[in-house]
């Protein structure tokens, strides 16, 4: 197949799409609506995933420092923990700060214990990877000056479990949605091509080879998919950029953050475009094939 022929097929595909205006429009709008759905859910799911990550990353190890330890020893412990592999950050909190927190949470009833504070100084340690939390905690436990190390074992495991389930459900939903979208788009293209089976048969009867008949249809599938992706890309991009700008300030000091607009939204756009084009081309290819046996 040379360039001239490809040009002919390209032109043919555009003419045919225009002459089948109504059907083309129906196909394109089905693609549009489906991809819009995919886009919106992808954005939501991936942000939820980010939220789960953020929450997981917020898990801390609380190291109660031995009451019988002096300041130098405390500093040594602090530095040692900071240099540990797998540790991301260490935050020191005096027993006074701890009591203040307690009072804030439990009311002034406890404030009469201010004279004789029974609490410990504390190191709050964050692991680089939340999955390492346990390992890090156990390691610290062996250090001198660490009285008690806690990281909410049961609670955190429960949280991790919950987040994992959510993430898996999210992935299943996304995959299901992608499959559904694939099916719907190729189904629509199939139906529109079936409506043109007699055209395909006539072409074959006049001596066209399979590829001669097929190529314009494949180009047409490509256009339908690409045009169907235009609106979803525009809408998802604009909406997310706007939403991100609005929401980010209110989340300024929170653990949870939205995904940055770039490059995230470009990736989504790419997924939508590729889905549209690939499904359009494949759907067209497979549907035409059925009617080529003449």
């Amino acid at each position: 197949m040379n360039f001239k022929i490809i040009g002919r097929h390209m032109k043919e595909s555009l003419t045919s799409m225009v002459r089948n205006r109504w059907m083309s429009f129906a196909s394109i709008s089905a693609v549009t609506v489906t991809l819009l759905l995919v886009g919106v859910f992808l954005v939501i799911m991936m942000n939820l995933n980010k939220v789960a990550d953020d929450i997981e990353n917020d898990v801390e190890i609380k190291v109660l420092i031995d009451l019988g330890v002096n300041e130098t020893e405390e500093l040594q412990l602090h530095q040692k923990v900071e240099k540990m592999p797998g540790v991301e950050s260490v935050k020191y909190s005096t027993k006074k700060q701890e009591l203040d927190k307690l009072v804030k949470d439990f009311g002034n009833d406890l404030s009469l214990f201010k004279q004789e504070n029974p609490l410990h100084n504390v190191l709050y340690v964050k692991a680089e990877n939340p999955k390492q939390t346990e390992k890090v905690a156990k390691e610290i436990m062996t250090y001198k000056g660490a009285d008690k190390v806690s990281y909410g074992k049961g609670k955190i495991e429960k949280l991790f479990g919950f987040l994992n389930v959510s993430r898996n459900v999210g992935i299943i939903l996304i995959v299901a949605l992608l499959l559904t979208a694939t099916f719907l788009i190729s189904n629509t293209i199939k139906i529109t091509i079936t409506a043109r089976r007699s055209e395909i048969e006539i072409m074959k009867l006049v001596g066209a080879t399979n590829s001669f008949v097929r190529t314009p249809f494949i180009f047409e599938g490509m256009w339908l998919g690409a045009l169907g992706a235009v609106l979803p890309i525009a809408i998802v991009t604009t909406l997310y950029a706007t939403l991100h700008d609005k929401v980010t300030p209110t989340l300024e000091n929170e653990i949870v953050q939205l995904l940055e607009v770039m490059p995230f939204i470009l990736q989504i756009d790419l997924i939508l475009l590729v889905m549209g084009v690939v499904i359009g081309v494949l759907g067209s290819f497979m549907s035409v094939r059925k009617f080529l046996k003449v």
Binding site: R8, R19, M203, K204, L205, V206, G207, T209, F212, V294
Partner: protein, 228 residues
Amino acid sequence: MIQMKNVIKKYPNGIIAVKGLNIEIKQGEFAYIVGPSGAGKSTFIKMMYREEKPTSGEIRVNGTDIAQLKDKEIPFLRRGMGVVFQDFKLLPRKNVYENVAFALEVIEEKPENIKKRVSDVLKLVGLAKKANMFPDELSGGEQQRVAIARSIVNTPKVVIADEPTGNLDPETSWEIMRLFDEINARGTTIIMATHNKEIVNTMRKRVIAIENGQIVRDERGGDYGYEF
């Protein structure tokens, strides 16, 4: 050029439309296929360009048995033949020009040649002025002439025409017949199923009569033969 041996065609619904055909048509011949409605003329014709595959028997076109043809080879068989289908089979979304040009695009003819050739052929069938119209804007006879134009545009070795004058007035019919005769004179084989007694009896050629799926008569320079 076309030989059939013991060709039988049984359709999936059980009807045996062709019951053991033996025939040879030589390059350059002009043959009418006549016979009553439902006799099997179209089936006979359709097997020549492999729209229908024979249930059994042998069909040789230029020596190769086309019953054995691979799917890939079929388009090349058809390119050597110009077919006028009984129901025209025009592409509904292509205009007259494009419908005729399609037969040339298929063989990857150069665009500049296509333009010239299509215009010439449309002039021959009297549709030069309607080149930009779509099939559903044409009268029955005009559609039929587009089908005829498409069948001859790539100067095939054989023209196979199924009832090509059924929707034409006598004058136009004769113009088409003169066209076929001319083409035939230049060496093209013409095979034409027809019910037109006047044409068969006036322009004397070989007459193959089919009844009930079998050849009942095969005469050179014969007449239509059915009286009523």
